[in-house]
């Protein structure tokens, strides 16, 4: 019970910090929203001209994007500290957590929520979902809703797990931002579109190495059944809601091993 109280208190603190500069926070959230909309606007305008991309029409594309944004909204509020972990280590702020009577990951996840980014991504995700979900031919019943919710949770765990893995690397290397830049952010650029449009090598990366395909592509395929699914094993769409748990557990194990190597950067 104490854990829940700490969690709520910490969320309240993040909120109050941002509310010191009300207008600025609002503009910043709007800016994130607009920045992330850029790709959506472009694909929307493009599909006005071209009708479809590998068989996916505009609403199906928006649905595919919506999952990416909805999951990320949770990821940035939960895993904000792990996203900025290398800076935290460099500034010696990680040491503070070591002396507190709670688990390290627990504190990292609960401390600091990037609410600005969360609101920006979340609003966009909800908006895209509302626009597209009714028009893509999904029969919403108990089974599909259950699948959808599990897939969203799994998507959050996959991305959170990846943040934990990249953070753990900070215990081995001084500079980890570039590894993360190449493997996380670049892969995320690919993930908004049906992965079947890419070269086989990139498809392999995005399915097996940085499993973004399980965040939005395969869950969307379960609900939409587009013809380009023939390129992949049918089983992927059924295991998608479970991949998150596996990735997260693996990440947790790796973290436990790596954190033992920690020596402070301070004096």
């Amino acid at each position: 019970m104490g854990e829940v109280r700490i969690a709520l208190q910490s969320l309240k603190m993040s909120f109050s910090t941002r509310m010191q500069y009300r207008v600025d926070s609002l503009v910043a959230a709007l800016a994130v929203f607009i920045r992330e909309s850029a790709n959506i606007i472009v694909i929307y305008l493009a599909l006005l001209k071209f009708d479809s991309i590998n068989g996916w029409n505009v609403n199906e594309m928006l649905f595919l994007f919506s999952i990416l944004f909805l999951t990320y909204a949770f990821v940035v509020s939960l895993f904000a500290d792990l996203r900025d972990f290398s800076r935290m280590i460099r500034e010696g702020r990680f040491d503070r957590l070591l002396v507190r009577p709670r688990g390290l990951l627990f504190q990292l996840i609960l401390n600091n929520a990037d609410l600005i980014a969360s609101v920006g991504h979340g609003t966009l995700g909800v908006l895209l979902f509302l626009v597209s979900a009714g028009k893509v031919g999904i029969h919403w019943n108990f089974a599909t809703i259950l699948y959808y919710v599990c897939a969203i949770i799994s998507g959050i765990l996959i991305q959170g797990g990846m943040f934990i893995i990249f953070s753990s690397l900070s215990f081995y290397f001084v500079e980890t931002n570039s590894i993360r830049e190449i493997f996380y952010w670049n892969m995320r650029k690919f993930a908004g579109y049906p992965i079947s449009i890419y070269h086989k090598l990139i498809q392999g990366l995005i399915i097996y190495v940085i499993p973004f395909a399980f965040v939005n592509y395969f869950p969307a395929q379960y609900l939409l059944r587009k013809p380009d699914m023939v390129n992949y094993n049918e089983i992927y769409i059924y295991i998608a809601p479970l991949v998150g748990i596996i990735v997260y557990l693996a990440a947790y194990a790796f973290w436990r091993v790596s954190v033992k190597r920690y020596y402070s950067t301070g004096n």
Partner: protein, 262 residues
């Protein structure tokens, strides 16, 4: 003049110091190009051309605009940071124009990005996709002139917004929004050929069309003779208008500036 050239060269050398950045820049640029070429390829499907525009032309448009926007990627929070920590006052003591100094540093940084991020990535791109060759030598020359003008337009838009940090707590949000407008309306993500008529009409009376699209059309040979001269004149007109606005904001801002503390 000599001093400003030194500023540009200094910034260029600064950038050279970070080897990892250099490597990352190439990888990121190459991946961005790859993503968009895949998207265009998939959009085209089996069609040879759409509205008379071939896939190669679209790819060429994307690669050129990406190169130019790469050159334009610098710290747009510079002025705000200087105002916040008060070090802007030191700038006024130096016997050089702050605006020209900023411009030359940004150009130095842009030159670095073009040479070390864009050109290698371009080399990689040519290996797996066919781009349009330049239409003529004269066209190529006119394009370089047009690129410089386009750069100045983009730089002035950015500078105008940076000067708002004299009045606002933070300009980060507005700069981000501005960048979205630029990337969509200048045709760097979706070429302006494919924009809906109504939107295209609006864009044609804004400076956005003059940033990347004019150089690209010159390169592809779409603009020749009088049309070409007219396009260049429009670019120069925008530089004059934006220059006046920038100057007005800057003068007003400097007058308003109050630096606290000693």
């Amino acid at each position: 003049m000599r001093a400003y050239l030194e500023f540009a060269i200094k910034k260029f050398q600064d950038k050279m110091a970070y080897r990892l950045d250099f490597f990352m820049g190439i990888v990121n640029t190459a991946i961005t190009i790859l993503v968009y070429l895949c998207i265009y390829r998939a959009l085209y499907g089996n069609a040879a051309d759409v509205d008379g525009i071939s896939y190669s032309m679209v790819a060429t448009n994307f690669v050129i605009t990406l190169g130019l926007s790469n050159a334009f990627h610098y710290n747009e929070m510079f002025l705000q940071d200087k105002i916040r920590d008060g070090s802007i006052t030191n700038e006024f003591l130096k016997p050089v124009s702050f605006i020209l100094r900023l411009l030359s540093e940004n150009i130095g940084e842009g030159a670095f990005k073009i040479i070390f991020h864009f050109l290698p990535a371009l080399g990689i791109t040519i290996l797996y996709t066919k781009l349009c060759p330049p239409e003529s030598v004269l066209g190529l020359f006119a394009m370089f002139l047009s690129v410089v003008l386009g750069y100045l337009i983009l730089w002035l838009i950015s500078f105008i917004i940076q000067t708002w940090s004299f009045w606002l707590f933070s300009v980060w949000g507005i700069i981000t929004i501005k960048n979205v407008f630029v990337s969509i309306l200048s045709g760097s993500l979706l070429p302006l050929w494919f924009m809906p008529e109504a939107l295209r009409g609006i864009i044609s009376v804004t400076p956005f069309e003059s940033i990347y699209f004019t150089p690209v059309r010159i390169y592809l040979g779409e603009l020749e003779g009088m049309e070409l001269l007219w396009a260049l004149a429009v670019q120069i007109m925008w530089i004059a208008v934006l220059g006046l606005i920038a100057n007005a904001f800057w003068k007003k801002g400097v007058k308003k500036l109050v630096v606290q503390g000693g």
